[in-house]
């Protein structure tokens, strides 16, 4: 990977919660077009890592750069480049689906919301629910709306935390289709999931995070699911 291709770069990333170390000195560099899936047991620090990569959480130590620009809390340009779908939806329950997207679109300074919002709702199959308050939507619908919110501003770097949790097969299919579109060579995607099938299908790179660090990482050259599952258990149990 040549230096100017790097979209996301983390160096010595560490996060502590009191005496608990969630992420311990993790390094990561990703280029445009790469899709990294991170697997790992509960409590491995995956969500903390994702939150730090997205600028939602300040690292205890280390730095994150997006296209060479450090994530600074006094500078807001980098936020245009990042879209994050957390296990929390970042949605307001008493605003409608459409109002939520319009609200976030306005915060991002988007000009074409009249066209963009209906198009994004349609892409995730929620056009008929545009006027429904979010609290009236099912979990799967909220997940899809959350994805639409994360991608609304066409970010270069997309961070996905457990996007498949609680989705029915139909909703999972919509999500798979949208995530497939993210593999356009322009974007960089980091996804945390426990879903081996979906995680392997999407990834160009794989990592297994255990106790705050990557215990295994490699390229996804058509890895067999069963073989990877065995590897995963070996890695996790080996570090337990």
């Amino acid at each position: 990977m040549i230096e100017d291709e790097v979209v996301l770069e983390a160096r010595g990333l560490r996060r502590e919660y009191g005496s608990v170390i969630a992420v311990r000195g993790l390094d990561l560099a990703m280029a445009a077009g790469e899709f990294l899936t991170i697997f790992g047991p509960n409590g491995a620090g995956k969500s903390s890592l994702l939150s730090m990569l997205g600028g939602a959480m300040r690292p205890s130590a280390g730095t994150v750069r997006v296209r060479g620009q450090p994530l600074s809390f006094s500078d807001h340009d980098w936020q245009h480049r990042i879209g994050m779908m957390s296990h929390r939806g970042f949605l307001y329950g008493r605003l409608t689906a459409e109002e939520n997207l319009r609200f976030y679109g306005s915060l991002f300074g988007l000009k074409d919301l009249d066209e963009r919002v209906p198009a994004r709702l349609a892409r995730v199959g929620l056009e008929s629910r545009a006027r429904f308050e979010v609290r009236q939507l099912s979990h799967g619908m909220r997940q899809r709306l959350s994805l639409a919110r994360a991608l609304l501003h066409d970010p270069d770097l997309v961070l996905l935390d457990e996007p498949y949790t609680g989705l029915d097969p139909s909703a999972a299919s919509v999500l798979r289709s949208v995530l497939g579109e993210l593999r356009d060579g322009r974007r960089t995607v980091v996804m945390v999931t426990h879903n081996l099938r979906e995680g392997l299908a999407m990834a160009t790179r794989l990592a297994v995070q255990v106790a705050g660090e990557f215990a295994w990482e490699g390229l996804n050259a058509g890895v067999d699911r069963d073989a990877f599952e065995r590897l995963y258990h070996d890695v996790v149990e080996g570090r337990a």
């Binding site: 939602a56 300040r58 340009d77 936020q79 990042i82 329950g93 109002e99 300074g109």
Partner: protein
């Protein structure tokens, strides 16, 4: 309108729409204001006490405690589904977020202030008369200072284990100068004194409110950053 002010406006819009739809804070603040007016009405012997002498203090006390109910829940409404995290991850500057939330809280508290004034006017038979605009101004300036500090410290207390219990502990000492000037000024205006007599006090209240807004805008980012 610049992007900055559009961001401020859209957050104000969002806060007010959420409040109108949920009515969580409006209802509790209004209920408290009316209840306080009713209770004070029955607890004060108007044959021995001139109501206009004590009304201003009671009005401000109702405002402070009622305001606390509303401002204290500012960020609890945001905590639902982590929505405020989404706002913090947007390019909206932190001071724009603070100004917007302060403005939305101001709308609520000022509406409550006028309600309190009306309730006390009815129950205490206050005749504010031609000084009504000035009393409304004083309450407005006081409400601005209150919500600026209240919004800042609500963000502080929401991020702690103590939650709402911490808010009055942090907030009340800083409100003392505002309440002293506010009560003194309101008392004179209710007594029918001319505005010229209290203009210096109103300026002090205004300076306090502006200082609170400016300090909040500067400090808010340090409070909400993880």
């Amino acid at each position: 309108m610049t992007t900055y002010w559009k961001q401020v406006w859209v957050i104000i819009w969002k806060d007010l729409v959420l409040e109108i739809r949920s009515r969580e804070r409006i209802a509790s603040m209004a209920a408290f204001a009316v209840l306080a007016g009713v209770l004070f009405n029955f607890s004060i012997d108007t044959t021995t006490t001139r109501t206009q002498d004590v009304a201003a203090g009671l009005i401000w006390m109702t405002l402070v405690f009622g305001g606390l109910i509303g401002v204290g829940r500012t960020f609890q409404l945001e905590a639902e589904d982590g929505a405020f995290q989404g706002v913090l991850m947007s390019p909206a500057p932190k001071d724009a977020i603070f100004l917007a939330k302060t403005a939305a809280n101001f709308v609520l508290l000022y509406a409550m202030s006028l309600l309190v004034l009306g309730v006390f006017a009815v129950f205490f038979g206050l005749e504010v008369g031609s000084n009504f605009p000035w009393v409304a101004l004083v309450l407005g300036v006081g409400a601005l200072g209150f919500v600026a500090l209240g919004t800042l410290f609500a963000a502080v207390s929401t991020g702690t284990n103590m939650g709402e219990t911490l808010l009055p502990v942090l907030l009340f000492p800083l409100l003392v100068p505002m309440v002293i000037y506010g009560v003194g000024t309101t008392t004179r205006l209710i007594a029918g004194r001319p505005f010229d007599e209290v203009e210096a006090n109103v300026r002090m209240l205004g300076a306090f409110a502006l200082a609170a807004v400016a300090a909040g805008a500067v400090l808010f980012r340090y409070v909400v950053e993880d």
